[in-house]
Amino acid sequence: METFVVPGTVESLGPIREFVRSKAAEAGLDKKRAYRLQLAVDEIASNIALHGYQEQGLAGDIAVQAEIGSDGLTITLVDSAVPYDPYSRVLPSDLDAPLQDRAIGGLGVYLAINNVDQFLYRFDDGHNHNIFVALRERESPSTAT
């Protein structure tokens, strides 16, 4: 497992995506899955930086852990901001509503949950753990003759 530690601010979002991108390539995820994993991680990291740390007047780090397994890549974000379970967030139910009538919140968590194969949250040892699992595409049946 490899860990990349950055300050919990929005300026770290680019470096976090870059780290996820390189691990995704190493894990053999295709471009589309790699992009979707980056998006999911980025959305939760944004929330940690803005709502978990900044709005609470707190400062702290985000540790990005990467673990390449036989079937894909698991990224875990660990932070010491206020406990926050993204699943407690009411997800937008107005996805078909015109934009002017939409609530502006909840989109990030919605995108995080829907862009990975598995998204898990746990609070452990005083830290938030947001866990993203992206599976490698199953090999298609060989067409070789």
Binding site: L13, G14, A97, L99, Q100, I104, L111, N115
Partner: protein, 112 residues
């Protein structure tokens, strides 16, 4: 890749060209450009995403902000969004509220 944008007024059409990666760290720049277009009384907004490599929900919130700031009857055209960006717009249902174009279609965008 870093983010940059350029704004241009073509009569009452505001064109904002988004380049690079649009995330929460640069969302303020996008909102400022939308506010500027609203102040200039634009009645159409074109977002050129041809060279936008990445867009997080911060970009989607910019679209909501545009509708709310410029008025519900302002047409928004999203031009040239890459597959991945397109999918994000679609996944959240935003394609129902904006016009999605492959290229800048003057006949449609500039129609009186």
């Amino acid at each position: 890749m870093a983010f940059s944008l350029t704004s241009e007024a073509r009569g009452r059409i505001a064109v904002i060209t988004l380049i690079g990666e649009l995330d929460a760290s640069v969302a303020g720049q996008f909102r400022d450009a939308v506010e500027q277009a609203a102040r200039a009384d634009a009645d159409r907004l074109v977002l050129d995403m041809t060279n936008l490599d990445y867009m997080a929900s911060a970009g989607l919130r910019g679209l909501v902000f545009a509708k709310q700031k410029m008025g519900a009857n302002v047409d928004i055209f999203v031009v040239g969004a890459h597959d991945a960006v397109f999918e994000t717009i679609e996944m959240t249902g935003f394609h129902h509220s904006v016009f999605m174009l492959d290229i800048y279609d003057a006949a449609q965008i500039e129609a009186p």
